[in-house]
């Protein structure tokens, strides 16, 4: 599997507090069958997560050494989960934040309860400067209507949902909705959005989707290799 959204990078946000915890998270992912793991620290002025790429890449490089030493068979990639604001375009241009790994796809998050930025506008603005937006867990944004998922696609955006949504951790209505989205082909990636090593639901979610929709659909959203191109 490929996990495109995690908070494994230590010290920089509300995810891993230290290298030991990060190592445990990586080991758990590897054991679950993840071959490629993206480390996507928040960049969110609102909550004071301000670690820039210049700093993240230094932490990432030393963490890579630790993973190598520990002998965990997994490929790690650096990115960001960018809380979209009017300055995001400039932040991307100035490499304060970065897309996922070597791709041109940038993971964007938005307010959970208030539509203070328009998702379609964000996709448009990124597209103009050469990036494709991946919308992080839209199923968690209370104001996003079902019809909006098609708008995200029409605008050229991609959709990432959380494994926890599939497992019903955010409630039954969100679970039902994401299953419908998957059925209708409106999901591009399922990711863990993992903040700590205790719960890693990606494999469980994969098995649920495989059982329900078959392995072809499960693979297309849990092992979406377009992110590695």
């Amino acid at each position: 599997m490929i996990d495109i959204h995690t908070h494994v990078l230590p010290f920089v946000d509300d995810g891993s507090p230290n290298i030991e915890a990060s190592l445990k998270m990586v080991e758990a992912a590897s054991l679950a069958g993840v071959t490629d793991l993206f480390l996507t620290p928040h960049f969110m002025k609102l909550r004071n997560y301000l670690s820039e790429y210049s700093q993240n890449k230094i932490i990432f490089a030393s963490f890579l050494d630790e993973v190598k030493k520990a002998g965990v068979p997994i490929r790690l990639h650096l990115g960001n989960e960018i809380y979209y604001t009017i300055t995001t375009v400039k932040d991307l241009k100035n490499q304060i934040v970065v897309p996922l790994g070597d791709s041109n796809k940038a993971l964007l998050e938005f307010s959970l309860d208030e539509e203070d930025e328009d998702i379609a506008e964000a996709i448009h603005n990124l597209k103009i400067i050469g990036y494709q937006a991946i919308i992080a867990h839209p199923e968690r944004y209370s104001y996003v209507k079902y019809t909006d998922y098609q708008v995200i696609r029409d605008m050229g955006g991609l959709i990432q949902i959380n494994a926890a949504s599939i497992l019903g951790k955010y409630g039954l209505s969100i679970q039902k909705m994401v299953l419908r989205l998957i059925k209708e082909g409106l999901v591009d990636f399922v990711a863990s959005d993992n903040h700590n090593f205790r719960s890693y639901g990606l494999k469980e979610a994969y098995l649920l989707i495989e059982k329900r929709f078959g392995s072809q659909i499960a693979k297309s959203i849990f092992v979406n290799k377009t992110i590695l191109l």
Partner: protein, 232 residues
């Protein structure tokens, strides 16, 4: 969250019937300018998605084609769209001029089409107050000295008061009605509001016509009427 696409037929297919229809619109505005200078032109309509933005961008393209220096102001501050029509990033614009007093020259986007744009930038909380402000009056007064034509895209008349406020800054208003879309009562009501406010309506545009279905009209995108007879 909305998906919309705009076609600038004057730029993309300059020899089409549709592009020709916009050239006729420009000619009619030129005729209307014989008595009174039409330098600042506002495009508006009764309801959303009637064709305001499409008319604004194509009218600007016809003027640019004739070698005129043109700027479009996106004053539909609640649902700005000009940046999407021109494939530009909307991360700075009118907001910075109003809030941070940035020199507007630094905010103007010079599009490859030779049309200049002042986009909306960050969302403004009270657009109607901002549009009424002296800063807006000063901006338009200064632009009059720098451009041959200033085209203003504005919100629908029946949705918000912004359009009537904008009309106080302009020389003339082009009123757009979408064929088979705008409700007759809405079109009449909006026209009434504009007239009550003594707005100088230079003409009406009947947008959204498919000439393959509507024989007798000479435009695909719209037909032009100088007396708004369709809306009476």
């Amino acid at each position: 969250m909305e998906y919309f696409q705009y076609k600038n037929v004057v730029l993309e297919s300059p020899n089409s019937i549709e592009a020709e229809a916009y050239r006729k619109l420009e000619l009619n505005i030129a005729l209307a300018s014989l008595d009174r200078k039409m330098q600042v032109i506002q495009c508006t309509s009764a309801t959303p998605e009637d064709g305001k933005t499409t008319t604004s961008i194509n009218l600007a393209a016809v003027l640019a084609e004739k070698g005129k220096k043109v700027i479009i102001l996106d004053f539909d501050l609640r649902r700005p769209k000009i940046h999407r029509a021109f494939h530009q990033v909307n991360d700075s614009g009118f907001y910075e001029y109003i809030t941070n007093h940035v020199d507007y020259h630094d905010l103007i986007v010079h599009d490859d089409s030779k049309i200049d744009l002042l986009l909306s930038g960050k969302r403004i909380s009270y657009p109607h107050l901002v549009l009424e402000s002296s800063l807006t009056t000063q901006l338009i007064a200064s632009l009059r000295n720098e451009y041959d034509f200033i085209i203003i895209d504005s919100p629908p008349v029946l949705s918000v008061t912004d359009s009537v406020i904008i009309s106080k800054h302009v020389d003339g208003v082009v009123y757009i009605v979408a064929y088979n879309r705008t409700k007759k009562d809405d079109a009449k009501e909006a026209l009434k509001i504009l007239r009550q406010n003594n707005v100088n309506i230079i003409g009406g545009v009947l947008a959204n016509i498919d000439f393959r279905k509507s024989k007798g009209y000479h435009g695909y995108q719209y037909a032009y009427s100088d007396d708004q007879s369709e809306t009476k």
